[in-house]
Amino acid sequence: MSGPSTVKTDAESTPERPLSLDEYERYGRQMIMPGWGLPGQLRLKQARVAVVGAGGLGCPVLQYLAGTGVGTIEIFDHDLVSKSNLHRQILHTTERIGMSKAVSASLAMQSLNPNVRVIPREEAIQPSTALARLRDSDIIIDCTDRPMTRYLLNDAAVRLGKPLVSGAAISSAGQWAVYGGSAKGQKRACYRCLWPALLPGAAGRCEDVGVWGVVTGMVGTGMASEVIKLLLGNEDPNPLLHIFHLGGVPLVRTIKMKPPSPKCKACGPDATITDDLAEADYDEFCEAVLVDELTGEVVGAPGERVGAKDFASLIGKGDVIVVDTRPEIEYGIASIPHTLNIPLDRILSNPLEVPTRQEVIFLCRQGNDSQLAASALRAALTPDTPVSTGEALADGAGAPAAAVPRVRDVRGGLRAWARDVDPSFPLY
């Protein structure tokens, strides 16, 4: 607005003036920094990145990449926006609940910065599609929440020779790093080099364990800065891993990463993973419980589970004890009367602590933990244990059912309870 009226004011760029006037003004505060300048801004504009996941990590990543002017941003997410996402997935809105996350995020990004090209893809990356979908991107950005996808994205990045910016956050902790590709001619370790195996029980998910919105925000912001540094050609010469812990001193611990592992299945000299990712084995990274495709509920052996409606008729009966396996803090948020709270970790470390009657029914939020509790108690009560064996044998053929308590759990947990029995039960 301060220039003479003869100056072109439209959005067209020319070789002498490669950005539009809108862009000069919009990006001015970052372009004037040393190491950025017009060449840096043009590198961002020419770049194309793939962001997989538009959730807790994806939202801050996408927001800053759009704001900073990354030319083409492709978003992969097959999920829909739900109300319980909104405390942390800050590009989505209450009005857009039920909309595709990829589309919702792209709307927010376009309104933040119409100069960038956003391509929403309402699909998940699969072993059979990964290479084709990610081939055109300069950087692959892993904002997913499942171990299987994390390893798949790493393997795809290794095969394509592209850097992977990968982050994770849960509860009050997070970590992020640049994996693969090379820094100043030195090959970086890939995700598998650093994390060759999954620790059993370490695959916690935000919906089960909980997460601070600010924690995904800080990790996502850290990831976005790694992407920008890579695009500007200003990446850390020695690869670093950042570990963040709310309440930690220091808040972020940054460590030197080791070089690539010669034993790595993805990037080592004897790598077994090839371009045929559909042939790679990702089963070891899948959750151990079997989930029904239609209901999303855990499948169990016949007779081991009870539906919410049948369960309602059993509560409060003298010979039935109902144990809610949620953590104390969740039990305090909402609970069903006549239930006893014993958190899962206590049950698992000592199943026989559960007071038994003729029938024990376990209950949890979604029907997963309750199943673990039930199988732990069943195992502890097997006819081998001295107490129950003695009685069962002494009483003869008809008696074992009475001597060994029947152990079941509620299919679908409190979600099913709220859906089928008591709609006023607060879901959280």
């Binding site: 996941g53 959730g55 807790g56 990590l57 994806g58 904002c143 997913t144 929440d145 499942r146 171990p147 994390r150 982050g167 994770a168 956050a169 849960i170 509860s171 009050s172 902790a173 997070g174 970590q175 650093l194 994390w195 060759p196 195996a197 999954l198 620790l199 059993p200 029980g201 370490a202 695959a203 916690g204 998910r205 935000c206 364990v209 997460v211 995904t216 891993l241 570990i243 812990h245 709310l246 309440g247 930690g248 001193v249 611990r253 940054t254 460590i255 030197k256 990463m257 080791k258 953590p327 104390e328 803090i329 970790d345 470390s349």
Partner: protein, 140 residues
Amino acid sequence: MSARTEEPELPSNGLGYQPRIPSPKPLGYTSTPGPDTLEIRLEFGGGLHLLFSQQPRHTIHVPRHVPSSSPPKPSDMRYLIRWLKGNLLSEREEMFGEGDGVRPGILVLINDADWELEGELEYELRDRDEVVFISTLHGG
């Protein structure tokens, strides 16, 4: 700046675990600083603190030399891991250790560097070393 011993006043203490009431005494070891011991600061992240009395941070004192070694062998990471299993681990050992080392999937840092850069099990401990054990996270 406050010291690292200070815990924030948050209901969940900000660390992703519930404080046990009262804060439990670490199991089975006496923390006796002296000329023959090394002070080692430990931190467990990514959920591993659950295996160590639910405490993410510990300060321990281990013998400067491996007990009854002759000639006296300086304490190393191999000894520290054995010591942790015997003195500090409060839960299932198989979740932490494998052979002399730790399970794959646990990253070990010595003074903020991957222990593979420092000699892994052979690294000789020094007074006030900081050793961090973390497992990978998957949420997002």
